[in-house]
């Protein structure tokens, strides 16, 4: 078994309607300490997790959307967003948060975390993972 595994967190649910999005994010934050090769995939209603401007005062639930922008600090730098899922929902990348990370090897240059991929490309990435987490 390799020392470092490729772990992918597969997010397919909208936030707030169920807790899966939030408790999945909690796994990602804890998992960051394990020095594995981590990526996140957002598809189907999972793309809604990353939308801007979420405001939960009216429903009395914790707003966890700001935490996605901290993922770069946890060295989670590869976030795949599926193109077909965005399009079906009438969304573009501009509707999502701008997620970045700082590359230590390039004098802390700021880089994009989100990679827009179509379903076939995401299927290729998925087929190279050792473990997929599903919530």
């Amino acid at each position: 078994m390799p020392d470092v595994k490729k772990l992918m967190y597969v997010n397919r649910r909208a936030p707030y309607g169920t807790i899966y999005a939030w408790e999945s994010l909690e796994v990602v934050l804890v998992g960051a300490a394990f020095d594995q090769d981590v990526s996140l995939a957002f598809l189907d209603d999972g793309v809604y997790q990353l939308t801007r401007g979420q405001s939960t005062e009216g429903i009395g639930m914790k707003n966890f959307s700001a935490i996605y922008s901290a993922l770069g600090d946890y060295e989670v730098t590869r976030i795949y967003v599926e193109k077909e899922s965005l399009e079906e929902r009438g969304l573009t990348l501009d509707d999502l948060q701008h997620l970045t990370w700082e590359d230590e090897d390039e004098d802390w240059a700021e880089k994009e975390s989100i990679r827009l991929v179509d379903r076939a490309e995401l299927a290729d990435v998925m087929s190279n993972q050792d473990v997929m987490f599903n919530f």
């Binding site: 649910r13 909208a14 936030p15 707030y16 309607g17 169920t18 189907d44 209603d45 809604y48 939308t51 801007r52 401007g53 979420q54 405001s55 939960t56 005062e57 009216g58 429903i59 639930m61 707003n63 959307s65 079906e88 929902r89 009438g90 969304l91």
Partner: protein, 98 residues
């Protein structure tokens, strides 16, 4: 008698909205709450399913999901929980399409 059709599931994930709209009669209202509010967002592939129906959306669920009111399809009413209660009162019965 009139029915308040309550839908709470994302129309992209579940068939609840599809079925619900098939049961809407004159005088009925469709109320979108929780993840169902995505159905009323402009540009989404399911939005046309609401054409010609009397549709209300729960504003706090919209706000939680970051959907500004100007992103809603035309003709949709935004209500708060008090408006939700009024709708239940105004219709003769409720049907939750879980």
């Amino acid at each position: 008698m009139s029915i308040l059709h309550i839908v709470n599931k994302s129309p992209y994930e579940k068939n609840s909205l599809d079925t619900a709209v098939g049961f809407v009669k004159n005088g009925d209202t469709v109320l979108l709450i929780e993840d169902a509010v995505y159905a009323a967002a402009k540009g989404g592939s399911v939005a046309a399913k609401l054409d010609g129906l009397d549709v209300s959306v729960l504003g706090s669920d919209l706000a939680a999901r970051g959907i500004a009111e100007d992103r809603l399809i035309d003709g949709v009413s935004v209500v708060d929980y008090s408006g939700f209660v009024d709708l239940v009162e105004a219709k003769d019965s409720t049907q939750s399409w879980l």
